[in-house]
Symmetry: D2
Subunit: 335 residues, 4 copies
């Protein structure tokens, strides 16, 4: 049977803190739809973590979280500027168009998932014509799909360009914990002008939950009705909030992410194949030909080629040094 | 602080079997998006319970489950026939129109949430004209929003009418467990011609999870892409499937629902206010004036007026006989 | 062969002024998508007629004009307050939900198509809850579907209520010309606070064209892209604008509408069946049993029962006194 | 003032046959929504022209016609395969996503707007995965955006590939008349397996009207409700059908298109700039640097750079040999 240890960080189980928080939240009767004490407390912790006032809600998937965020920022006849390999462009089956009712995507290039500032400038310089979906928002991902971490100094000019053009700004933080563990200051996000932020729970070691953080209060009008209509305001919301509560109360979020990042570094250090991107967080992308990949699969390790054609290895809170070493042993044997 | 024991069956915590199943599912790495062993096994148990072949998926809310089901059955320029007090008509913030892209609703009357067969016949007899959204599907709820249980003998003719008119049939089973515990034979559903079925987990004592069961294989084409685009195919799907696995492997689903039903019967028997609907499952609807309701609220019990103006008391797996007795004591004191 | 003279005001041909304007617009090459001289001049005439600054566009159907207007005013998780017999509620196949991406409708009662102010107040007083589509806009129709004319004194308080609640205001003016011919001061609309207005061309005797007038400039942002995406920004827009140019340059719009109104008065005066609504513009609604209607059909006159169950007779610019007299002769013979 | 003679074929006025047909259609009262004699007769002529049974409707814009056609063929979680420079990809402001409720586009390469068969094969060979919008339809354009004409022998294999993969086939015939005038046999379309076809009226010299032709009867179910909901079933439909009636009864459609094609040939022959694409119909694309284009603009001729960066000159039924010669004189002076 195939091993999924490195297939994705969403292949990992949930952390002990998540499970403990779920158990703790499972006490007695509670009001529904996000009005209970667990949701309140988790939202408070997130505001504290970000050092920002915000509306915080918990939804069951990153795709929904991103789609709802973008719908908050754009009209259907507009488009979202995003990296051409961003999750919203390549992996969400058109969810931005579904949640945004025809909302378009404008893919931009850039190394290791970071949007090239010049390409953004070019896109923003295009005239606003009726026959084209002009940009309504900029979407950034941190850490990027290639594990790169934008510094505040890199994010600032990109966000500045978008704001100057009147656009809203979305940040997909599916792996924000990994970026934070690598030194990114999450408290900079509000100050930099991000309007809506998604904090990934799933890939950070929680059960299926993501936090949607609306930093621009004007965007939050009737937000619960928006969520409800989209099937993302479950009555027993405490079970979506509890993992965040458990992971943030204990500072476990960063600790686990740091472990995942360290495991990726260990893997990269021992990997006989060349890395296609700098290993800044928990992902390792390697150049590997078809024959080698086939041998790896035959050896029982399930991993796959990513959008850029390289083979991706993801580490998570649950990745053990032993598994990394075992994998690297195999990699050396097939290189 | 207000007590939510009877506010809704979704105010209850999760059952021990649910929590145990979550813990058991939290072992090792697993493939994502519903392809793991927990999802497979839970789907198998549901097929067995229903005695039917079907595609089974797990989503995070009943609103999403219903919306996706109806979108599977209808075109945007069509409408869904449903009881005027059905959850999809009154409590989902227009989700059928969101998931169905403009899909309409045609509300039908009927006692205690059961659709009146004559009213259905009238609606189906209307000519198919371009300026009106003609029916594309019939939506039934069992148990109904008023706790009534359709017998197969009652469902048959309604479904028969719909099928004869070429419509698809959806069944909202948010409280199907309660109906089953009251004697409804769930194995009749496939035979009767239901095309898409939602089995409620939330109100049955699970965490936030619902099963979407597509009985008509033709409707399931590219169903995962439909779910993914709508943000309802979370990677860590095992945590949405596990509760069903736990509750069905142990027959806990029916046992807990039977307890909830019994608590409602106990409440109705001791309640000094007249019941507006027969108590067939876990809901008690009573006639109560504003002054009495205010006294009840003042006494710390949170309940509210339902769509028909009566005050609703919901029992759940977690409702204790003591709580019922305590509530009834209060009710007598304020009557 | 059936006669359609009184079936609808859209059964009439186009006025001589419309046809002359089409011919006049058909000169030489012109820039597209509403940027040509004909469109500019027609928009200017409309602004003059309304005595208001506004963005004006021309679309091919009233259903599209209304749907686009409502989408401009509301979010998908909101609803539009409208008379229960308003065209948008009963005759547009769910277009508000299509253009508004799930946008709901809240039907309100009121005599002869006028919204009851108390019913509006009740609807606005409902709490803003997540499970219900709360109102985002008020839609009014003048003249109403029953031919009634709101006075500015009647519109004012309705619009005032809506504005006080933060709602946008839409006015469906499919028969605004008839209202104006009956004395309604169209220059009051902007002053009263209408945000988006549709001026009907079709029923006023033009070819298939309607003017969308966006009075609130903030709502007009990227309006051409909205129209283009919805297939309502045709390149040869001059042919949609020309009829308005022809009818407004010559004051033909009011003259023809006054004739239609006069024909309805003539019909009502001679009609042996009781009128269900006061005849204020170009519509006559009569109480008529099935047998009488069948005799009328047998005599070759096609008319039909309207939403309220009465039989509707519509007059238009093309209705002749002879046709009215001939119809009334038949009516007397079948009474 | 700028001259628009060559800016687009939609800058031309309407043909005499169109205007005569509009006048002829403007007789007496008629039933609405496409049920009148003019619509019936125009549909019959189109069926005859195509030698195929089909449902035929008339809508006001090509964008709407294409969007509605694609919505008929695809689910929102699917995508349309189209040439990367197809009108639906570059010029419709995301209309496929609007009418298709999130429907995606998959751009394919190919010379002069013809889809490369190998690229189509590659796209169809991709596995059907949940995170990507898999193809639901193939969209072809004939004549292409670059004026190229697919022969039946070229269309056949492309359509065959699509059909073998279970896809529907749409053909955008905005300039089908030009293709036909260049020798394309329109009677081949139904035989080749096209499911929904749009026949352009606008660019063929009519007023704002396009014919939607549904060749696959199963796709036409409740088609009028689809059109009505989308605001594309105007009551006075006779004015959208009449131009087709006038142009097909007199064989004027082909005669005018042949003239447009001949004018393009004349232009290409005398043009001192190199042509980027073979001139097969009514378009001439030339390589021209910025300085030359600026001189052309300064000389009063409005034309613009197309998607491929070349400068496009469109001829129409109204283009005169004198205008071509005058333009070429200018072109020589600025070369």
């Amino acid at each position: 049977m195939a091993r999924y240890d490195f297939a994705s960080d969403n292949a990992a189980p949930a952390t002990p803190e998540t499970m403990a928080a779920l158990a703790a939240a499972n006490e007695g009767f509670a009001s529904g739809y996000g009005t209970d004490a667990v949701c309140m407390r988790a939202a408070e912790l997130i505001r504290g973590w970000l050092d920002a006032d915000a509306e915080v809600r918990f939804v069951a998937s990153g795709t929904a979280a991103n789609g709802l965020s973008l719908a908050t920022l754009c009209q259907p006849f507009e488009a979202v500027l995003a990296h051409e390999h961003a999750h919203i462009c390549t992996d969400e089956a058109g969810a931005p168009g579904f949640f945004g009712h025809g909302l378009g995507l404008i893919p931009l290039p850039g190394g290791s998932g970071r949007i090239d500032p010049g390409a953004l400038a070019e896109a923003l310089a295009l005239p606003d014509v009726s026959y084209r979906q002009s940009p309504g928002a900029l979407s950034l991902t941190n850490a990027t799909e290639y594990g790169a971490v934008y510094s505040p100094g890199e994010l600032g000019p990109l966000i500045g360009q978008a704001k100057a053009a009147g656009l809203g700004v979305h940040l997909d933080g599916a792996r924000l914990a990994n970026a934070a563990a690598a030194g990114f200051d999450v408290k900079a996000l509000a100050r930099l002008g991000v309007d809506v932020l998604v904090i990934g729970g799933t890939k950070a070691g929680m059960t299926a939950t993501e936090a949607v953080v609306v930093l621009d209060a004007a965007r939050a009008r009737r937000f619960d009705a928006r969520l409800k209509q989209a099937g993302q305001l479950p009555s027993k919301a405490r079970f979506l909030a509890a993992p965040f509560l458990g992971m943030l109360e204990e500072a476990a979020l960063i600790r686990h992410a740091a472990h995942a990042n360290a495991m990726a570094a260990r893997l990269a250090a021992a990997c006989p194949f060349p890395c296609a991107h700098a290993v800044e967080t928990n992902a390792v992308f390697v150049e590997m030909d078809e024959a080698a990949l086939a041998r790896l699969h035959a050896a029982g390790w399930f991993v796959y080629r990513f959008t850029d054609g390289t083979v991706r290895f993801m580490c998570s809170w649950a990745t053990t040094a032993e598994a990394v070493d075992e994998l690297c042993h195999t990699l050396r044997s097939i290189a």
